[in-house]
């Protein structure tokens, strides 16, 4: 582990919350989260908890990032399936 990663990890430790949602709860809400974020809309407490979780959980962050980018790609290519 290099110094940069160590620093990032220490910051994750220090930003640990007493109550953090589970990966399952994050999965349940991540689609709403990416659309709310893309719209620049206000996030309620439940979505703030998703934000906290993906800050701490690498795999959920990776899935969030893919979902966020995929909906942009799909929109950009005019492959909308929902109207």
């Amino acid at each position: 582990m290099d110094e940069t990663k160590f620093t990032q990890w220490i910051n994750k430790i220090l930003t640990t919350e007493e109550d953090e949602i589970s990966c399952s709860d994050c999965f349940d809400r991540v689609s709403e989260y990416v659309e709310t974020e893309a719209a620049g809309a206000e996030m309620d407490d439940a979505l703030q908890q998703v934000k906290q979780h993906i800050h701490q959980c690498q795999v959920c962050f990776d899935e969030y990032e893919l979902l966020r980018d995929l909906i942009q790609v799909e929109d950009g290519h005019d492959l909308l399936f929902d109207k």
């Binding site: 582990m1 220090l14 399952s24 689609s31 795999v59 979902l67 929902d82």
Partner: protein, 217 residues
């Protein structure tokens, strides 16, 4: 090209036996294949031994698995996002898990676990202490080391070593421990909580650490 549908139309057609359902399932399968292929395209390093045809076949397999998961979970869709955004996450979740497990297939986690029982393993992972560095950096290393060695449970220490220090993906650890993401996340959360309390008991909070590590990191 699939036809545009509202959220309500997706649900209604997926639930209605007959031609409408068949068409909706085919359209959904097509977008799930694209989501799986997109996931693999962004993580090709996980599948570097695979031919393009093999990657495409894997994308179709993952899409099929995602399709079944979606059909089994339709009742949970509450319309809080577009249906397709909700559906994509199943394909991404299954594809990413598959890709990560492929990459780590040949790695022995038994060996990594065995290391965690040996004295002094942690010192090999932490960055070298800079003799000229700030005293607080050395102190943080010391607190982290002592807490991991003395306060974490064996399970917490193992999961922390595998995921934080060996950078083993969560889903590989989940498979190795025959458990689930929630259980592994809880172990990590509990470990972080103990480490945070240890640091705070020595007067080290976020602001101090960002100043003293971030400035020089």
């Amino acid at each position: 090209m699939s036809k545009p549908r509202t959220n309500e139309a997706w649900i209604e057609e997926l639930k209605s036996p007959g031609d409408l359902q068949d068409a909706a399932i085919e359209d959904l399968r097509a977008i799930l294949v694209r989501a799986a292929a997109y996931t693999f395209g962004r993580n090709l390093g996980d599948l570097e031994t695979f031919s393009p045809e093999h990657v495409q076949q894997l994308a179709e397999d993952c899409a099929q698995e995602a399709l079944l998961a979606i059909l089994n979970n339709l009742a949970k869709f509450r319309g809080e996002s577009k249906f397709t955004t909700w559906a994509y996450k199943f394909a991404i979740n299954i594809s990413l898990t598959t890709a990560r497990r492929e990459r780590w297939k040949g790695v022995s986690l038994d060996l990594l676990e065995e290391q965690s029982t040996q004295d002094g393993w942690l010192s090999e992972y932490l960055p070298m202490a800079d003799p000229e560095g700030a005293a607080i950096r050395k102190e943080v290393r010391q607190i982290i080391t002592e807490t991991i060695q003395n306060e974490l449970t064996d399970k917490q220490r193992l999961v922390l070593k595998l995921m934080v220090f060996d950078e083993t993906p969560m889903d590989v650890v989940v498979e190795y421990l025959n458990t689930n993401r929630n259980a592994v996340y809880k172990l990590l959360h509990d470990a972080r909580t103990k480490l945070k309390l240890s640091l705070q008991s020595h007067g080290i909070g976020a602001a101090e650490t960002i100043d003293l590590f971030g400035a020089q990191g």
